[in-house]
């Protein structure tokens, strides 16, 4: 369902940059997303190392995607099952994605450390929200290191929690993204 537009976008970014300035294209070499739900009764933390993505430092455009069912490290296998089947419905909505453009007018073709904001569409659980997300970029030797912390409100993405687990699941999920993008 969402695979197509993302692939389309990927190819668009790849294609357009490929013509103009290939050296400005980066893809995720290693990337992880950790989410944590800090509810009164339970802390749930899980990580996926399957982050995929692409970044054009010339146009300052990017697209990241992730298979939702690759999150690991739940407190119990049952929890993982609930996460995938009941909340994120990863069968129905297998991917989460964030694609957009960097707001700041900075030259990202040079090495350096940048505090930037990315504006884009965040799709989780099949619901797309336009979001601004703060990131820290370190560009060095054609490696772009990305670090970002942000939150996702379950309600923003139509993820409903049964009343009985309210105390066990936070309504605001914290996410931490770390990725190294390498020159393609």
């Amino acid at each position: 369902m969402f695979k197509k537009p993302i692939i389309l976008l990927f190819s668009l970014i790849l294609f357009s940059s490929g013509v103009n300035a290939p050296q400005t294209m980066y893809t995720v070499g290693a990337g992880s997303i950790t989410f944590s739900s800090d509810a009164p009764l339970e802390l749930i933390k899980a990580t996926s190392n399957q982050l995929k993505g692409i970044f054009n430092s010339e146009k300052k455009e990017f697209a990241f995607t992730l298979n939702v069912n690759t999150f690991k490290g739940f407190n119990s296998p049952l929890q993982q099952e609930h996460f995938n089947e009941n909340y994120l419905e990863s069968n129905k909505y297998p991917r989460a994605s964030f694609e957009g453009k960097i707001i700041e007018d900075v030259d990202l073709k040079r090495d350096g450390f940048f505090r930037i904001r990315a504006k884009g569409n965040l799709t989780v659980h099949g619901v797309t929200q336009e979001r601004i997300i703060k990131c820290e970029l370190t560009i060095k030797n054609k490696i772009v290191s990305v670090k970002s912390n942000f939150t996702v409100l379950l309600a923003d993405h139509n993820i409903t929690i049964p009343k009985v687990v309210h105390e066990k699941l936070a309504s605001e999920i914290k996410l931490e993204v770390k990725a190294e993008l390498i020159d393609k």
Partner: protein, 959 residues
């Protein structure tokens, strides 16, 4: 007949009362970037040194909470919960919380470009614009960005405006952008040159009512945009706009005010009318940034270095008088074409105004000589001008033709002195000396001044007075009012005359002039007692106590907004008849030396007040819907010098009891004139007057309080604006009813419990003691028996061998003795007699052993034997001891004496014959007695051993 000449002059109408303020802090000037007025009417200035509030006198810095942050303020805004937002050049945002600025911590990060404008939409979302990143809005706690990806035509946003329909109108470098939510997403529609906008570069958008918006542009002037139809209307004057960039727009005082980058302040008074430059005092500043209006209708703007206020259209001055003219003026008239006529040296001067210039035309009259004073001017329904003179009666002038004649209809007028000429519709009323009290009826025919006038003279009527009539006034109901010199007022109504004077409560019977308000009340001013309002029944006086600034009132007029306007030498008092409060325009606005002749105040066709001052003709135009009295604001409430949120309605604990209130009566027109009254309900009984702007209350007792403060421009606080702050200082816990109740219950419980416990304890102590006694008795008794038996058997053994008969007798006595012991065993006490019985038995047993070497003398009365009690076997034990411890032999007989001394002491005394070998168990028997007595008596047992006698003194027990 008339000589006249016209001179063309150029002159700008000048503003009156402009003031300017430099933002100087710590001796350093700072640049003002933005101005803002909050809901209360407080002016804020955003500067390169942060945020300042401005109370009309000084700037006060609003500091950051905590860290010593510094930031350049570029935008200020108040949301509909009255919280102040500040946007900075750095792109950061802050809110004012408890009097301090606090940066917002935005999860999405801060913009990196300067914040330029704020707006709150109809869903209460806050929007703000940046210069380079587009615009942002907060929705459901999230910050969202609208930029070119959403269709915004340019990222540089100058200004935001909320549309009537909820859309956000955005001024960008590339046209107007209209933002609206469609399916929860922001859609942008661009209005640019293609849509008829003269310029793509939009700098300002302000609401003009009815879905219309004024649009200010970079180089093509301004236009009107209708958001409903999309129609853009360009004023005709814009075609050759050469004033440069518009920075800001303000619609105020029925005019559009235009702040420009290079042409100063401009004004358009009539839609599609000409745009004129508005000269601000002596200012040469050409770069005006912002425009706002205060609550009193004054217009505020800022240049790079100054904050400037102008009265705008409210007060203006035409400096038309040539030298010497002002001093010669005794009467003025504004005619039906708004030309202003003044009397001068037996002639008239007419000033005609067109835009920025005026012409001056002089009229002189052959009938008048140099010494004739002109006292009054009036224009009748036919537009002819009536000229009242001292000594020459009335002259009629046709201003069109210049033709004039002296009125001779009444011979009285020939050399009459006229004090006033007034009129209404087809009447003209003239009052004066020598009995002139005439009312003329004007007809169409009188257009020609040669036609005769019909008239009535009221000079012979009683109470109207036949000498001095200062003023005759024909009111809207057809009544004719006569103001006399010393006889009060007389009214002619339905052919009937009624006089009101001192007997009707008037404090002064010298009546100068009349006016009528919208409710038909008649107002008149007196020589020295202020003015009166007469509603047909009662007179209401307004004097210094009500706030009239000067009792020497030149003229009384009804202003165009229905207020009563008083003119005096210092300026204008404006009496607001609905509230009775009075405001002033005087030297604070640059008015000085007002002409004090009765006929020198006139009104233009719009009813605005025209008066003559030494600096020229002053026109006062009241501003609609403007506040005319100070707005009272409690600026902050401090608890022990820490600011508390003034929106907070909460209780304070008993030790939070020292309050400081800072307040302001905001009145930008004359901030120095504000007086205050305050009271603390719950503490003070009455109002306390002050000119301070703060008051402290220390150590308030617990209770409910309401702090009231009100401000006024004079001593009259009857209708003053009032601000209040209610608070409760709670009683300390121990003074609250529930605590006291709880305390009482607890105390009662405690007492009950204690009593119970004590009873129980006492009982227990008793029981314990009893038990102990029992126990010890048992123990003691147990000790007695073997001891005695041991000795007895020893004696018996010796008898059995020596004297068996005696032995039988001895065993018999021994058995009596033991029976006694058994009998008395369970008794705690027995009588002394009983004890002596036991003792005698025992003594018999012992004497059998020792013979006459042992002697016992008992000296106790029969009464004592019955009345004195003693623990059983006590004496027996003591005697047993005496025998045991002493050698009893022929050489050393033992004598034991038993007697009572002082009825208190039972004494057992024996001589001492120490044994060579000490008997085992020594001291045990005596110790037993001592223990037993300790439990039974408070008196101790005394044991004395003086080497000769051994004495035991027992306290006597009387049961």
């Amino acid at each position: 007949m008339i000589a006249c000449c016209a001179i063309m002059q150029y002159s700008y109408a000048q503003d009156l009362g402009s003031r300017s303020f430099k933002l100087i802090d710590d001796n350093k000037p700072f640049k003002i970037n933005t101005l803002f007025k909050n809901t209360e009417g407080y002016i804020y200035a955003g500067s390169t040194n942060g945020l300042y509030s401005f109370d009309g006198i000084r700037f006060k810095k609003i500091h950051f909470a905590g860290a010593n942050a510094r930031d350049t303020v570029t935008a200020i805004f108040e949301d509909n919960t009255r919280h102040l937002w500040v946007g900075f050049k750095s792109g950061r945002l802050a809110k004012k919380i408890n009097g301090r600025l606090e940066y917002l911590d935005i999860e999405e990060g801060n913009p990196a470009k300067a914040i330029t404008s704020f707006v709150q939409d109809k869903q209460n979302n806050i929007w703000f614009a940046t210069n380079g990143e587009g615009l942002y809005y907060f929705k459901n706690g999230r910050l969202n960005l609208v930029n070119t990806e959403n269709g915004l035509s340019d990222l540089h946003v100058r200004s935001l405006q909320l549309g009537n329909n909820g859309d956000i109108l955005v001024a960008t470098d590339q046209g107007i952008n209209i933002c609206s939510f469609i399916d929860e997403r922001v859609q942008v529609q661009v209005i640019g040159p293609k849509n008829g906008l003269p310029d793509y570069y939009v700098t300002a958008i302000i609401a003009a009512g009815n879905e219309n918006y004024w649009i200010g542009m970079q180089e093509k002037g301004f236009c009107l945009y209708n958001h409903q139809s999309g129609k853009i209307t360009i004023p005709p004057d814009n075609a050759n706009w050469n004033y440069g960039q518009i920075n800001n727009l303000l619609f105020s005082q029925k005019s559009l005010w235009i702040a420009t980058e290079e042409s100063g302040l401009l004004k358009q008074s009539v839609i599609d009318g000409p745009v004129t430059e508005f000269k601000i005092g002596n200012s040469t500043q050409k770069k005006i940034y912002n425009l706002i209006q205060d609550n009193e209708g004054n217009i505020w703007m800022n240049t790079a270095t100054e904050l400037i206020s102008i009265t705008g259209n409210k007060l203006k001055i035409w400096p038309v008088y040539s030298p010497g003219i002002f001093e010669s003026i005794h009467a003025t008239l504004c005619d039906h074409q708004n030309n202003i006529w003044i009397s001068s040296n037996a002639g008239l001067i007419k000033y005609s105004f067109t835009n920025d210039r005026f012409t001056e035309k002089k009229y002189s009259f052959n009938d008048l000589n140099e010494k004739t004073d002109i006292t009054s001017l009036y224009q009748d329904a036919n537009h002819n001008i009536w000229i009242g003179t001292m000594g020459k009666g009335i002259i009629i002038l046709n201003p069109e033709t210049g033709q004039s004649r002296q009125l001779s209809e009444n011979p009285l007028l020939q050399n009459a002195s006229i004090l006033s000429i007034t009129g209404r519709g087809n009447t003209v009323c003239a009052g004066g000396l020598e009995g002139v009290a005439m009312i003329f009826i004007i007809s169409e025919k009188n257009k020609s001044i040669t036609e005769k006038y019909s008239f009535t003279n009221y000079n012979d009527i009683e109470n109207v007075g036949n000498n001095y009539i200062y003023n005759i006034y024909n009111d809207s109901k057809g009544r004719i009012w006569f103001g006399t010199d010393g006889k009060g007022i007389t009214v002619l109504e339905n052919g009937k005359l009624t006089n009101y004077n001192k007997h009707n409560g008037l404090k002064d019977d010298h009546i100068y002039s009349f006016a009528e308000d919208g409710d038909g009340n008649i107002w008149f001013n007196t020589e020295g007692a202020g003015i009166y309002q007469f509603d047909g029944k009662k007179f209401r006086n307004f004097s210094v106590g009500q706030g009239i600034s000067d009792l020497k009132i030149t003229a009384l007029k009804t202003g165009p907004l229905g207020n009563i306007i008083l003119v005096n030498k210092k300026g204008i008092d404006v009496l607001h008849i609905t509230t009775g409060s009075i405001s002033y325009y005087n030297n604070n606005q640059g008015i000085s030396d007002v002409n004090t002749d009765m006929g020198s105040v006139t009104q233009d066709t719009a009813g605005n007040i025209v008066l003559s001052t030494v600096n020229g003709i002053v026109v006062y135009t009241p501003v609609d819907q403007a506040s005319y009295q100070p707005k009272t604001i409690i600026e902050n409430v401090q608890l022990f010098l820490t600011e508390v949120d003034k929106l907070r309605t909460g209780n304070f604990s008993y030790d939070q009891n020292s309050f400081l209130f800072n307040f302001t009566g905001l009145y930008y027109t004359s901030p120095d004139e504000v007086h205050y009254q305050y009271k603390l309900e719950g503490l003070d009984t009455g109002w306390i007057q002050t000119r301070d702007r703060s008051v402290t209350f220390l150590r308030l007792q617990p209770g409910t309080y309401k702090f009231h403060v009100r401000s006024s421009l004079n001593e009259n606080f009857d209708n003053a604006d009032e601000a209040t702050y209610e608070f409760v200082i709670e009683k300390p816990v121990w003074e609250r009813w529930w605590f006291i109740m709880l305390g009482i219950i607890l105390l009662a419980g405690l007492i009950f419990w204690y009593t119970k416990k004590r009873e129980g304890r006492l009982q227990k102590v008793q029981e314990l003691r009893q038990e102990k006694i029992q126990f010890q008795f048992q123990l003691l008794r147990a000790q007695v028996n073997p001891h005695f038996l041991f000795n007895s058997f020893n004696t018996l053994v010796s008898f059995i061998e020596e004297d068996p008969k005696l032995a039988v007798d001895y065993v018999g006595q021994l058995s009596v003795f033991f029976r006694n012991i058994v009998n008395y065993r369970d008794h705690e006490l027995i009588t002394l007699g009983e004890e002596i019985g036991i003792l005698k038995t025992y003594f018999y047993l012992q004497q059998k052993r020792y013979g006459h070497n042992l002697e016992l003398n008992i000296a106790v009365s029969e009464a004592d034997k019955k009345n004195i009690f003693i623990p059983p076997l006590t004496l027996q034990l003591l005697i047993e001891n005496a025998i045991k411890h002493n050698a009893v032999s022929k050489e050393t007989p033992l004598t034991i004496n038993l007697f009572i001394e002082n009825n208190k002491q039972l004494i057992i005394k024996n001589n001492i014959n120490p044994k060579i070998t000490r008997e085992s168990g020594a001291g045990m028997g005596l110790q037993n007695i001592v223990n037993r007595y300790n439990l039974l008596s408070n008196e101790p047992i005394t044991v004395q051993n003086d080497g000769v006698d051994f004495t035991v003194i027992l306290p006597v027990l009387n049961q």
